[in-house]
Amino acid sequence: MTDGETIRAAFKGTLGKFSLDAGFTAPAKGVTALFGPSGCGKTTVLRCIAGLLRLPDGLCVVGGDVWQDRDGAFLPTHKRPLGYVFQEASLFAHLSVRRNLMFGAPHSEGDAGRGRIAFDEVVELLSLTALLDRAPGKLSGGERQRVAIGRALLSQPKLLLMDEPLSALDRATKGEILPFLERLRDRLSLPIVYITHAIAEVERLADQIVLMDKGRVIGAGPLDELQSDPALPLAIARDAAVTLDGVIEKHDSGYGLLTLSVGGGSLIVPAPKASTGEHRRVRVIAGDVSLAREPPGLSSILNVLPARIVSATPVEADEIIAVLALGADGSGARLLSRLTRKSWEQLRLAEGTSVYAQVKAVALAPGRGELG
Amino acid sequence: MRLTALVAALGAFLASSAEAAQTHIAVAANFTEPAKEIAALFNQKTGHEAVLSFGASGAFFTQITHGAPFEVFLSADSERPKAAVNGGFALADSLFTYAIGKLVLWSRVIDVTDGEAALKAGQFQKLSIANPVAAPYGTAAVEAMKALGLYDALQPKIVQGNSIAQAFQFVDTRNAEVGFVALSQLYGVTAGTRWEVPQTLYSPIRQDAVLLKTGADSEASKAFLEFLKGPEARAIIERFGYALN
């Protein structure tokens, strides 16, 4: 990818007892999630990208524009065309919602019409109409966060940075706001770097993921690749799952089932009617996938897909996480399966073995399913 | 044996300290330097300690009439000690004039050796005096200027310090080019030029001392006033530029 199509960031330095040495390259579109346990340095990296923190040994090039380099160039935060959403909305207490929204908006008509995010568009996208003339102190946590997002958008950013925007909200509010974030991702062609320590948010929103731990990047790439990489903590976690992008093939209204095609096979999911050709994200939990050497006989499991074992990693005392590739030739999308060592040995499974993956439960990621 | 000696020594020490007492004296600001010398000599000769407070006579008078713990009052005028006596705060038969103040025109900026000419010429922007309402040197300054027929001309240039010390400070820092100060304030001062205002131009500034009711039973207080009348004190007073009765 050319410079104009990527976001390149690399920062190295020590802050107190914490040492940071993290760098990644992300595409300049879609959602890149910065994911890792608390204290791993995700916020530090984001603040460096924003210019709120200045580490001398730093590099930040966004869409071809140098924001910081190692030769001393450093664009101060207010000159960077970015939007930043903090964990607590931090609305200006002395301004109404409307004036908060307009605070960062450019005064001149300048680029009007050229990909410019309009006030009405943002208000509609985030359902802010009823809140416009209220004082920030009178809003709920979720409402404040929506205003904060709108405010960041109206500053016409080329890059949107979000630092755990949902973690300060309760579960119900999180569920309310996520659809807004999905709409954001789908409707605006704006790259987003999104920090979270909740894998469920990653699964619903992210295209790319950068995994961090103890100040270092331990993995970066498309979401499904990293989810099924046994070398990374995601795959071997207790609640390991993969998120696949599926295209709707057909809908069975009699039984309320949706058939989606994913790489190397099809999955049947209980879901309301939706149009053919639309995209949906599908979540498959490793513990819901069992393996068979032969096509199983009559069973209640709807989804039985041929697949090939790519790798096997022992976890805990007596369990194995197997990575499967769908399709008879093993060239399709990756799934995870968690099984006992006993089953593994009894079935004489090994890398390369052809198997049938039985997926007991499939859930649609967006708008459906629990945020684990 | 050793113990009795110790007790005896202690007793003697305590007895002699009981002899050497303190007396609290309110001293008019202009009499500061001579008062310090007199107090030091007094202490040397009698062992008593005179604790001196300096300030405006008017302020002292107000404090005394409201119960301030002074035992002796050395005023810059004669009105206030008289008022203290009349008000029952002081002993009438202790009142006497301890010094007669001399008014001086002083400048560190222009030549006032011929003071009357300098005042007439008026080649200055500010003339400093003590607040006539609060200090007798201020009243005397106004009297002198009126006697010279210059008061109306000079009035716009007058600035008042709330005490003679402050009036002095204005001239000393050259904020005011000239000022009427007490001769005693110029003791040891060589800077600038001065003109002793002829006594005919103003009523004598009698500075009276009086024993206050609070000091009626204080040996040290009475001793101080006696010392003040004595030859050694009078020599000091004269040296500092005061006239004597």
Partner: protein, 228 residues
């Protein structure tokens, strides 16, 4: 005015003028200073804070003495005064303003500094991410958020100047119509035993200051409620 003789009314007017001008000047001077004190990480900033606070601790006689030198022909005051043919800023209303500014400064700087510090970093970071330059962030975010502190500083500065006695006495020269403010006028009345006039002036001073402070406090409360 108000049927009061001029030797009572003029000091009142002078005092109000002095307090008003001092307060406004202080707001202009103290605000950037308070901002710097609140935000700077310079090692010597608390030293500066201590110097600013000195007037609270120093006796007025000491303060007045140093001011006399500063305002006089040997100091910067004299240099300024020479611009219009005078020798010194002492004995002038301007000199009183300067003296009052110095002596009331700590009362104005402290609440404003606290207000700025209470804002914290976040609102300013937010402003920066919304394209606000540091200057714009100061005027449109920091200052409005700190306005209760500025109000408090203004009230304290005003009240302190009205009551200021020592410094005025030291550098004013008690010139009627120019530097004879309420405090020195009261002093004169007491000296000449005009108790009635002294009481009237002093009592009026207390009532006025009380009214100003009370109304400012109520205004501040109204401000805070509107924001919550």
């Amino acid at each position: 005015m108000l049927g009061l003789p001029s030797d009572i009314w003029v000091p009142i007017q002078l005092t109000i003028e002095l307090a008003a001008i001092t307060t406004l000047s202080l707001l202009v001077v103290a605000t950037p200073l308070a901002w710097w004190l609140a935000r700077s990480r310079a090692a010597w900033k608390e030293g500066v804070a201590a110097i600013v606070s000195l007037p609270i601790v120093l006796p007025p006689t000491v303060l007045g003495f140093y001011l006399l030198i500063l305002l006089g022909p040997d100091g910067p005051g004299g240099a300024i005064a020479s611009l219009w043919g005078a020798r010194t800023l002492a004995f002038t209303f301007t000199g009183l303003v300067i003296g009052s500014i110095v002596s009331s400064m700590p009362f104005v700087v402290q609440p404003i500094r606290n207000a700025f510090a209470a804002i914290g970093d976040r609102p300013l970071e937010v402003a920066a991410t919304l394209r606000a330059s540091p200057r714009r962030a100061f005027w449109t975010v920091a200052l409005p958020l700190a306005s209760p502190g500025l109000l408090t500083g203004a009230v304290l500065g005003f009240a302190h100047t009205v009551g200021e006695f020592g410094v005025v006495l030291m550098i004013g020269g008690n010139i009627p119509g120019r530097t004879r403010v309420m405090s020195t006028a009261i002093f004169d009345f007491v000296e000449t035993m005009r108790w009635r006039d002294a009481n009237m002036l002093a009592g009026g001073m207390v009532v006025f200051a009380f009214a100003v402070i009370l109304s400012m406090i109520l205004l501040e409360k109204r401000f805070a409620r509107a924001r919550a």
